[in-house]
Every structure is written in C-alpha cells, then in structure tokens.
Symmetry: C2
Subunit: 247 residues, 2 copies
DNA sequence: GTGGCGTAATTGTCTATACATAACTATGCG
DNA sequence: CGCATAGTTATGTATAGACAATTACGCCAC
C-alpha cells in the first residue's frame, strides 16, 4: 500500500526542491496515489532523494499550500481528499450544487455518438482531424425541473475509458473530474437568448435569457473535453469568492 | 523615499515568518507603499526584525509567490507593479479590457447621489441602516457603442475619499481598485432579459439576453462597494483560465 | 477494562552558515 | 572611447542542527 516513488525521477531541471515537489505531485495528479494515501515522511524522503529535511520540507510545504496534500503532525502527509478545484470552479459540478440545495438531482442522456473529428470539430476542440471523439448531450434536472443542458465532446485518445462508459444515468462531467486529471481549464461565460429547441428542452419561454458556460480542459496541452453548459438565467447563478492572500 | 516600517509591528500571533510577511504585506495592501517602491533588503530586515535571513527569505518568498512583490537578484525586492487581481478577476475592469482590444473607451456618469442607507439598501449592502452611502450609475462605451451599464453603491465610512471624487469621466470601479484596498470579493453571475429602460440605454432590442455580474467587496469584513455590471450577452464574454499548481 | 500519562513519531519553525547566481558598477587595458 | 574583466551586492538554494508543538499509541495503575 505504500506508494512507490522511483527515486531518481528528479528531472534535473531547476532547484532540487522544485524537482522533488514535481516528483511528488506527479503521481498525485495522475491519480496513481489515491486521495488519503500516506506520503513517505520527510525523514524517509531525505534518504530517498538524498536531500536535507529542510529541502524536503520546502517541497512538501509548497504542495500543502497548493492544496495537493494535507500534513498533520505526528501522523504524516497525505494526498488531499479533494484536490484543488479552486473556489470558482466548484459550481460547475451542478449535481453537487443541486444536492447541496437539498433537491433531487437527475441526469438524462439525450444523445451519444462516437465519430472521428471533422475539421470544424477539430478546430473547436483543438485535436487533430480524424481523432476519435465521443459527443454527448444531456439534460440535468432538479426536483424534476430541467435546469441545464449539456453538450460535450470527449477526446478518446486522452480518456479512452470514456468509450465504454455508460453515461445514461450519471453525468459525464462528474465522471471526468473523478477519473481524468486535468492541468489547465478555460471558461467562457456569456448570455444568450434561448432558441426554440432549447426552450422546449428546458421547458421555458423562447428568448429567455440563458447563461452559457463553455469549458475546455487540457492535460498537459492535450485536450480532454469540451463542454457547453446552458442554464436559464433565473434558475442558477454562478458564485465566485476571492480573498487576498494577506490581511 | 525609503519606506518606513515600524519595527515592532509584529503582532505576536503565529510563526515569526508569518508575522513578518503580514508586516510587509500590510503597507502594500493599504497602498502606503507605491507599486515599484523598493522594499528593504533581506539583510536590512534581519536587523529590523531581529530574525535570521532564512526566516526573512521565507516571508518574502511567500509574498513573491502571492504576487505582491517582485524580487530581482542584485537589485532587491519591489512592490509589484500590478498587485494581485488574479486571472479571473481581470475582466471586471472593463476599461482595461476595452483598451487592450484597441478600442476607444469612455465612461459616462448618468446619476450620482449621496444618501443615508435605508433598510433595503443596508441589507443588500451589508452596512448598518443610516450609513452614509454614495449611489452611482453610469454607462461604459467602446468606440462609441454602449457596452455596459453600471450601478454602484460605495460605503463612505470605508472610502471617505469617494465623497469628493468626481466620477463624471473616469469610472468609479477603477478608482476604487486603485485607492481602496480590499480583502474579500464575491461575485454573482447571471443572465437576464433586458428591460425597456436597459435596452434603451444600451441601444439594443428589448429582451436581449444580458450578462449581469454583481460584485461586492470587503476590507476586513467592512463592506466597501456593491456593483451591478450589465452587458449585452453578445458584446462581451467573461474568460477564466485556471491551471493546476503543478504539472 | 479504563483512565491517565509518558513516549515517540512527525511536522513546524528557526538559526547559522555556505556557496551559487544574477546583474549592476567600477576598473583597467588597448 | 570602447570593451573586457573583476568586484560587489542582493537574492536563491542547500545543509546541519536544534527545539517546539501535536498527537497516536502503548504502558501502567487502579
């Protein structure tokens, strides 16, 4: 159960404590070390990497600041239960938000197909034309009322496990968050008037203002998924909270 | 010109390097030290605070990580030219965004009045009823086209200088960012259909979908300002980019 | 058993010291 | 004057050692 670190994974670039930090971060971000897993103690790491404890401490402290690990005296360091996802991101897991509000959440798959990316899709998604891709669309409900439409592309080369996955009940967004590590994300937020088809699916008046969040994620520059999430403006709002680092 | 630190400002709470970090961050966040100002060298700070250079270094490195200061070898440490405002925040300074797009930016004050907060305002704003408040509304233009309406409340107890300030040309948002330090911010983002009055002011069709950003900022739990920024959905979109701390 | 207590493991912080690195400054040579 | 070179200063990183704080765990008395 003890996580194995290949000791000489130090990449030789930059300061030693940075190399150690990356060496520890890598298996966490790739999901090799499960949340809650114990990380070798500072003392063990000094022997593993041949560095002093201060240097190890600097690396681990940086990881703790970043929220990747949790450190507890006498117990040791552990992979954080819920790695990053900074404040602003949290709301995009609408299922969690609905559950927090005490409403019954349901996801309904409207369409799913697998195809090779045509040039237009490739450009939107950032993959090479011909790449194997899954396209999904679905509807999220809270207490029976439709609250969000989702259209999504998944790059099967980055997340091959998604090919066999059945998304007819559980939403693909949550699954991807849990199973595929991402390193970068981009969001575009805009407002649009609902078209006829959208209005019918969301059971709202045509031309109702809707919030659209377009989300793209990458893992080390490889596109993982593209998603367009559309909600009636009145139904939900996004919340972001920020604090200055000092006070 | 050398920034004066009252040496015994250490508050006695927590680790010494944290106290030093706060002692240096405070005048920066309060605006007492102008951007670009030189911070005493590590060596000087060791004498000022009576701590070792490693401890000083730890404090300053943390401030550099947070983006509050910039450090350059041989030259020293300096207050960052553009303190924090993390990625996601940047868009809320619409003037800067318009300028970056190479368009001509203009702000037009539509209304300004000063009054004592009634119960409804007090609840919305989080101040005590009777608090002296300024209410403003204005319109932002890019190349002559209206692109955003702004409605704003400013707490005069937190920002008394705003009382005498003339906002008829330069927008209050930018001025506040520059002159009043904030510690916390909250944003609500939603989509609404433009009403008749809104449509007239923005020169768009009634019922056009608009993006509304409601922003509230506090300085140490004291409300500073509340703002509602409304833009046609097609005109502008918000962009947020995130990266995981490691890769 | 069980409650209290000491012990040891582990992280948190601090110091003193050392050398590396970057970059401005001054010097010297032609 | 121009250019190369050495010097100086400040930050960047690393080490070894020390002590503090926290807390699980086992031991012992009852």
């Amino acid at each position: 159960m003890s996580p194995r670190l290949s000791p000489p994974v130090l990449d030789g670039t930059g300061a030693i404590y940075q190399q150690i930090r990356r060496a520890v971060a890598r298996p966490i971000l790739r999901g090799d070390w499960a949340p809650g897993a114990k990380i070798p103690s500072e003392h063990e790491l000094t022997e593993l990497f041949g560095a002093s404890r201060m240097t190890i401490n600097k690396a681990l402290s940086a990881l703790a600041d970043a929220g990747l690990i949790v450190r507890r005296r006498r117990l040791g360091s552990f992979v954080a239960e819920r790695p990053p996802e900074r404040a602003v991101m949290e709301i995009w897991d609408i299922g969690a938000e609905v559950a927090r509000a005490g409403e019954a959440y349901a996801f309904e798959l409207l369409e799913a197909r697998r195809f090779d990316a045509d040039p237009a899709t490739a450009r939107l998604f950032g993959v090479k034309p011909g790449t194997s891709v899954v396209e999904l669309s679905g509807r999220h409900r809270a207490d029976g009322t439709p609250i969000q439409l989702e259209r999504r592309l998944i790059n099967l080369e980055a997340a091959p496990a998604a090919a066999g996955k059945d998304f007819s009940v559980s939403p693909p967004g949550r699954w991807l968050l849990d199973h595929v590590a991402w390193s970068d994300a981009e969001h575009l937020i805009r407002a649009v008037n609902a078209g006829d088809e959208t209005a019918r699916l969301l059971e709202i008046e045509p031309r109702t203002a809707c919030l659209v969040v377009e989300r793209r994620t990458w893992s080390d520059r490889v596109p993982i998924t593209w998603a367009e999430l559309l909600s009636p403006g009145a139904a939900r709002q996004l919340v972001g909270r920020f604090s200055q680092p000092d006070a």
